[in-house]
Amino acid sequence: MLARIEALLRRRSAPAVQTKLNVGDLEMDLLTRQVRRATQSIDLQPREFRLLEYLMRHAGQVVTRTMLLEGVWDYHFDPQTNVIDVHISRLRQKIDKGFHPPLLHTVRGAGYCIRADN
């Protein structure tokens, strides 16, 4: 029992010291606020950085537009137009253009997902 608790505690405390986020060859350093894809450094606006950070923290999961608006802009509402899509496409221009494979995927009718595999 004690061993189980200790194991659980170890597992919980591990992500707390996480300073780097990785998806495929995309790497984000949360301390220096630098983003790299493969060997190339990528220059991001503060809002784009937060958008990417939110997506990478939910890597492999589908993130809806409402979730993004709440997590990145701190406003809770349902955007009528494709206002979020434009931000995503700008981010996609910076992290996916000229690289292979694409990491930022659109999930039709749901939202977006960042993941490394095909």
Binding site: Y75, D78, P79, T81, N82, H87, R108
Partner: protein
């Protein structure tokens, strides 16, 4: 009406309790009067006896035994004696004069006073009456005995008369109390029953029925007035719900119809995967639109219920506007528009940050949307408890020069027929005033009201700028 119904009313019970308390207080009052008068009468009688005895002693002293004898004979004459009891006796207690046949044997003693039973005969009565006499006795020089007293019967008669009076007045009071209680409860039942009957009629579907209100403005009338006000408030709220339901039905009917037709297209296009996929995508878009409409309706309902009032805080408006501009700038740039923001000074307000953001976002969203391909579906702005009968649109730029397409479209519902479309193309600087809900239309038998909807057709090129003014109830 049955008597038991009265007996069960609160008014009757109150009247009964009141009569009970009143009777108790009357009994106490009578007891007090009874006691004090008894004491008073006792004392007066004893004083009279003492005075009489002193008179006889004086007679004896001044006139001797024969004088006393005359006096006693004189006082005990049947036409004079009244309630008096006299006896003069020899030393061996043989009566000499007086209205007693013998000296009382073993009388009850209390101090100087003796009491003994007598059979007194009132003047003119043939039969005697058994009674109790109270008397003083004295031994005079020469061995004579004298006894002076009074019959207590009159006093007892007075007492019993008093008790009888008490009994009868109590009986009368209880009867009057019961009658008053019945009367009061009958009146109360009549008023309450009227209200109950009205309530039952309303419960059985006569929702327009109201409680009867009298002229007197008493508590029952006030109760009726308040109940009527409550019913009106309920009716107004139900009416509001009905209006909102109507609007939801109207707003959802056309997207649902489109969704259905898209799905039908998808079903029929089973052979062509590309066409099918396109139809399904369009169906999903319609479903998204429906969800968005639902979201908006829910937040309007929330705002009207006052649920969001708790979220009111001090909000920096410039910060909110900056956030909106920052969110929408890429979209605007993509559509070839510029978003410039000029903020002068700090602007703080009490409000809900989220709703303010959404309001400004909707404004900019609309502004950005009316570029190429933008349109506004046919609708009515009828949300809220109060909506104004008209709306205003100011046209800020010139059609055919700054933009093409983007006509202002009105549809007029014609009963039992298809809707009629009215397309307007005001010039830049024009103002359009149109009705929100209905418009009077002249028919063969006078005017009837036609339901109106409005919208904007697709903008083909350029950017269309207008300022729409919707009057809205700001208090909810």
């Amino acid at each position: 009406m049955r008597i038991t119904k009265f007996l069960r009313t609160t008014a009757f019970r109150l009247a009964l309790i009141y009569a009970g308390i009143f009777s108790l207080s009357v009994i106490l009052l009578f007891a007090f009067i009874f006691w004090t008068t008894s004491v008073l009468v006792d004392r007066q009688r004893q004083q009279a006896i003492v005075a009489d005895m002193n008179d006889l002693r004086d007679e004896f002293t001044s006139l001797g035994p024969s004088g006393l004898l005359d006096s006693v004979i004189d006082r005990s004459r049947p036409d004079r004696v009244g309630n008096g009891v006299y006896l003069l006796a020899k030393p061996d207690f043989t009566p000499m004069a007086g209205n007693l046949s013998a000296w009382p044997k073993a009388p009850a003693r209390q101090g100087l006073w003796i009491t003994f039973p007598i059979e007194a005969r009132r003047f003119g009565d043939s039969q005697g009456e058994r009674s109790i006499a109270e008397a003083l006795e004295a031994n005079l020089p020469g061995g004579y005995h004298v006894l002076v007293g009074q019959n207590t019967a009159p006093q007892r008669r007075m007492q019993s008369a008093t008790i009888q009076a008490l009994f009868w007045s109590l009986a009368a009071m209880v009867c009057l109390g019961l009658a008053g209680g019945l009367l009061l409860s009958r009146n109360m039942i009549r008023r309450i029953e009227a209200i109950n009957r009205s309530a039952e009629r309303i419960m059985h579907g006569e929702v327009m029925h109201r409680m009867p209100v009298g002229q007197s403005n008493d508590e029952f009338d006030r109760l009726s007035v308040n109940l009527n006000l409550m019913l009106e408030e309920i009716e107004r709220l139900v009416g509001g719900i009905r209006a909102v339901t109507d609007n939801i039905a109207h707003d959802l009917r056309s997207p649902l119809t489109r969704l259905k037709s898209r799905l039908e297209i998808a079903m029929n296009a089973a052979d062509d995967p590309i066409e099918r996929r396109a139809a399904i995508e369009q169906a999903i878009q319609e479903a998204d639109q429906l969800l968005a409409t639902f979201g908006a309706l829910l937040s309007i309902a929330d705002a009207e219920a006052g649920a969001r009032r708790a979220d009111m805080t001090t909000v920096e408006l410039s910060g909110v506007v900056q956030d909106v501009v920052e969110l929408y700038r890429p979209l605007a740039e993509e559509r070839g528009a510029n978003l410039d923001l000029n903020i002068h000074g700090l602007t703080r307000a009490q409000g809900n940050r989220q709703l303010l953001f959404q309001a400004v976002a909707n404004l900019i969203d609309n502004a950005v949307k009316y570029g190429e391909g933008g349109h506004n579906t046919l609708h009515q702005e009828l949300y809220g408890e109060i909506f104004f009968p008209m709306q205003l649109v100011l046209f800020l730029n010139e059609p055919e020069k700054d933009y093409t397409g983007g006509e202002f479209v009105l549809t007029q519902q014609i009963p039992r027929a298809q809707s009629k479309a009215i397309v307007l193309k005001p010039r830049g600087g024009d103002m359009l005033l149109f009705t929100t809900n209905f418009r009077p239309v002249k028919g063969t038998r006078g005017f009837y009201r036609a339901r109106m909807r409005h919208g904007v057709s697709e903008v083909h090129t350029g950017n269309r700028h207008t300022l729409g003014i919707i009057f809205h109830d700001a208090l909810t």
